[in-house]
């Protein structure tokens, strides 16, 4: 896995936001096919004010992932996203490089506020 040390600083930012009382979601690239810009394990963290740090692509799908992350913070439920040229959203948000990625977006909660599993 590449760039893992960069990811740590995004996680530290996420924890910092969390400790300030902000809602936070963490998006992680869990699989890639073809010429994807960021490797598996790359992370983007987002807070409820749409501030973000890190990346899951070369800037191609970050905007879409941030919107999904806002929903994930609202619902408290993790979500699995996939982007690529074969995706129907390709014209709108896609990877110009022709790669495909799967991104797992999860909310950050403390033990007390975590919702019961559905």
């Amino acid at each position: 896995m590449l760039n893992k040390d960069e990811e740590h600083s995004a996680l530290e930012t996420a924890l910092g936001w969390y400790e300030q009382g902000l809602n936070v979601a963490i998006a992680t690239v869990i699989s890639t096919w073809g010429s994807s810009p960021r490797p598996t394990g790359s992370q983007l963290v987002v807070n409820e004010e749409r501030q973000f740090e890190g990346s899951v692509s070369g800037g191609c799908v970050e905007t879409a992932v941030i919107e999904e992350a806002m929903d994930v913070m609202d619902t408290g439920l993790p979500r699995l996203l996939s982007y690529g040229v074969s995706n129907e959203q390709a014209w709108e948000v896609g990877l110009a490089c022709g790669g495909q990625i799967e991104v797992y977006v999860e909310p950050l909660w403390d033990e007390k506020s975590a919702p019961e599993q559905s």
């Binding site: 893992k4 996420a14 394990g41 439920l77 993790p78 909310p107 599993q117």
Partner: protein, 239 residues
Amino acid sequence: MGRKIGPRAVVKASTLKTLIQAKEQGQAIVLATSLENHSQLVFFPEAAETDGPLGVAVRDGFRTDRSRVVEFEGKRHFIQVINQPLKLLVVGAVHIAQTLIPMAQSCGYAVTLIDPRKAFASNDRFPGVAVRNEWPDKALAALGLNSRTAMVTLTHDPKLDEPALIKALDSDVFYIGALGSRRTHHGRCERLSEAGVSEEKLERIHAPIGLDIGATSPAEIAVSIMGEITSALRKRVNR
């Protein structure tokens, strides 16, 4: 057994704290996330004895240093490997070090600068950098050299560079670079050889240091060194 951090649906602040703490302590860690019920388990290398396919996937993650999705019993799990942090040990508080250090920090390395000459390794010249005003061999022994460590010698002074090189060659650091011309390196190898360093070990030293990009200024040389360190790290990992 892996330490179970949370039975519920989402990443916990406590899990995140565990990950960040592991990084600070220089410890490798695997986070296994079920993509079906979203439960998460944290594993440390010494405690990765879990049975079954999850245990196999976790041990495989530690061994290969690769994060990936694994599927068993019809369910997908993301195995995320968070390795020990990268370290760069710079011997010689010289001009090149002033640009190399911030560059390496941007690339994710924890940097320590070693130079017994206090006038060189001053706080004014290297603000905020971890400095050890010790003889390099002594400092290196204290800092710990492992397969996530790179070391460069930049002093041009055999009595500082060479003890450091001997120490590094006795370890499994992934990169050793020594500043100096081909001729300087030839003389260095002769001395190291007399000191009992084998031919095979001497081959591990990157010298003249850095990629051949025609670098001349200290900053350009720093770029060529950082490029060579990156190549040593990534080409090894990805081979």
